[in-house]
């Protein structure tokens, strides 16, 4: 079982890869809309990638209003 910190780190890695950002430039408390300059649709794309990685399904409502990696990680952690 992963810890929240591990989950968070894996999400940061996935986001860096998906949006072509150098590894290590993203932090758990970063606002991903702002930091990555992405819109809500691109967030959904990232979410699909995260779901595939963790092998879970995350309903859209779970990420409603979420804008930082840490909160996103906690939502995913609860479904692992």
């Amino acid at each position: 079982m992963r810890t929240v910190d591990q989950t968070t780190q894996e999400i940061l890695d996935l986001a860096s890869k998906h949006f072509n950002v150098p590894a290590g430039t993203l932090a758990p408390d970063d606002d991903f809309f702002k930091k990555l300059g992405i819109d809500s649709l691109q967030t959904l794309e990232l979410l699909s990638r995260i779901e595939n990685h963790f092998g879970i399904e995350l309903p859209d409502y779970e990420v409603q209003g979420v804008s930082d990696f840490r909160t996103l990680a906690s939502r995913i952690q609860s479904r692992l």
Partner: protein, 571 residues
């Protein structure tokens, strides 16, 4: 299609539609690749009527208000039908608002009934805002897990157990059908009181251009609380016997799949999603080998030439079969709304033989004011006024551009509890839109920015500066105000709209990096589409009224004298 001229209300028309098209499929609902539900009109009635009975037994009567806060799904429409059946006033709320905002609007609307789904209810319960909604008597929550805490609500599914037939409550055309919030989660909620007549008239006008029929399938993606989806994703298809497809997730890959799986006839999108589709298609075209690309370009050019005066769907589907197959092969038009769409995006799809029904409208006017009639398609305009819509340009300058006024049976009766605001907005029967436009020589309307202090995002969200100011209350400045940048510095443009924060520092202080960070932090508390994009430091006292309210228009005029490029500091 039912003859709507004969009907006095939404409820009466829907009730007859359920009988007239009893054997047709009206709803399909899928969660990812799994279809969860498929209902005929007869089966829809078998759920709607017991729910109406439960409402009746709970004392819900003519003119009572009932709110729905739900994602797009079959239970949204079944609940709305039951509310109309009982002569109620529907209050459709945006499920994307925060729980506090939802409670605020629930309180403002005076709703006595709330229909919602469990994940939303869980968040609503956790919010302190509940105390404000004192009118609320009955709460029905869908999909509550077996042992979950209901917190004073009832299970929606249990409400379908009523066995006695409900009593239909008639309404007249001039009575209020819905209260739709066009904005106002901040200080001044704008609840548009829409009459039954507004919907009946709008539906006739829209379906004259974009008809529905049994077998047609509308993919519902825009939130159903939005005026467009309510009309073309519920009322319009239902009175024509067509079907509505709901998806429980809006991930792009599942939306793409749904087009093919359900052979979608129409879909409504906001510009952001349309642009995303364009990007995806363009990437696929760019990946073609040079030879295939040449052939493809030739076919597009041919299609363009052959559809210059009007769409020819059959021909386009043959010429560009693969593109159309990706959309299911039955798509008649993409309806785009909620915000301004750039002409090049519209043209991109039209050239592929996929007409985009773009238009211009606002909730207050009853959805659409103008729509592109495609004869010919004009990407550089928002189309001609719909039948029954009088549109004039007021105070036009030498360039013909002025404020757009509208008069029609589709215009709302007013804002709930806001007689002054209503009187300012509707003058002698004409709705002042606050938008700037001009008619070209062929009667097509072109838009040129706004006169009002607000922005509309590409996701179709209306943002009023007043609604977001509270988040900056703790700033250590003498005074501040948020503006739409284009309101201060008119751009004659509908794209790239942004909000700016204007601050007036305490005497003797200067703008510091620390303050910038503070503003940035507070800005981050706002939902991403509500955030400001820049800061303006202003050295003078803000002009104020006797009651000390900021005179926004006067302040905007003063700021307008400054050089936009120089004074807006980035965050």
């Amino acid at each position: 299609m039912l003859d709507l001229a004969k009907y006095p209300s939404i409820g009466a028309a829907l009730k007859d539609a359920l009988q007239a098209f009893a054997g047709e499929v009206c709803l399909m609902e899928a969660d990812r690749e799994r279809e969860k539900e498929r209902l005929t009109y007869r089966e829809f009635a078998l759920r709607g009527h017991p729910l109406a009975r439960t409402l009746q037994d709970a004392g819900f009567a003519a003119g009572d208000r009932a709110a729905i806060v739900m994602t797009n799904q079959s239970k949204w429409l079944i609940s709305a039908y039951a509310i109309f059946f009982r002569g109620g006033v529907l209050v459709p709320l945006d499920y994307k608002l925060t729980p506090d905002e939802q409670w605020q609007l629930l309180a403002h609307s005076g709703a006595s009934v709330l229909v919602t789904e469990y994940p939303i209810w869980r968040q609503l319960v956790a919010s302190a805002g509940r105390a404000a909604a004192t009118n609320l008597k009955s709460i029905y929550v869908t999909e509550v897990p077996a042992n979950a805490e209901l917190s004073g609500a009832q299970r929606w599914e249990s409400a379908l157990e009523a066995t006695t037939e409900p009593t239909f409550v008639p309404r007249t055309r001039k009575e209020v059908a819905t209260i739709v919030y066009s904005s106002g989660t901040g200080g001044r909620p704008k609840g548009c009181m829409m009459l039954h007549e507004n919907y009946l008239e709008q539906c006739v006008a829209l379906t004259s251009l974009y008809p529905f029929a049994p077998g047609f399938r509308y993919l519902s993606i825009l939130p159903t609380n939005h005026a467009i989806d309510f009309m073309v994703g519920f009322f319009g298809p239902f009175i024509c016997g067509a079907a509505v497809v709901h998806l429980r997730t809006l991930r792009p890959e599942f939306v793409r799949e749904a087009f093919v799986k359900y052979k979608v006839t129409y879909v409504s999108l906001v510009p952001l999603v349309l642009k995303n589709l364009q990007k995806g298609l363009q990437a696929r075209f760019d990946a073609l080998t040079p030879g295939k690309r040449r052939v493809f370009n030739l076919l597009v050019a041919l299609n363009k030439a052959l559809t210059k005066s009007q769409p020819r769907l059959g021909l386009s589907r043959r010429l560009l079969g693969q593109v159309h197959a990706a959309f299911g092969g039955e798509l008649r038009a993409i309806i785009v709304g909620g915000a301004f769409t750039e002409p090049q995006t519209l043209q991109f799809f039209y050239d592929l033989g996929i007409p985009v029904a773009n238009g211009y409208g606002l909730t207050e006017a009853g959805t659409a004011i103008t729509v592109n009639d495609l004869h010919p398609f004009r990407a550089d305009t928002v189309g001609k006024p719909l039948p029954g819509m009088e549109v004039r340009i007021v105070d036009a300058g030498a360039d013909g551009i002025g404020e757009i006024y509208v008069r029609s049976k589709t215009v709302m009766s007013g804002y709930l509890n806001e007689p002054e605001l209503t009187a300012e907005t509707i003058v002698d029967g004409w709705l002042k839109t606050g938008d700037l436009g001009r008619f070209d020589s062929t009667g097509h309307l072109q838009l040129f920015g706004r006169k009002k202090n607000m922005i509309v995002t590409e996701e179709g969200k209306n943002i009023y500066p007043e609604d977001i100011e509270a988040v900056f209350d703790s700033l250590p400045v003498k005074e501040f105000c948020v503006f739409a940048a284009n309101y201060i510095w008119p751009q004659r443009s509908m794209v790239g709209e942004q909000l700016v924060l204007v601050i007036h520092l305490e005497p003797g202080l200067v703008f510091t990096e620390e303050l910038r960070k503070n503003i940035s932090f507070l800005n981050g508390r706002l939902l991403n589409y509500k955030r400001i994009h820049g800061i303006v430091v202003f050295d003078e006292d803000f002009p104020r009224t006797a009651s000390l309210k900021i005179k926004r228009n006067v302040l905007a005029e003063r700021l307008g004298g400054l050089d936009r490029e120089k004074v807006i500091l980035s965050l």
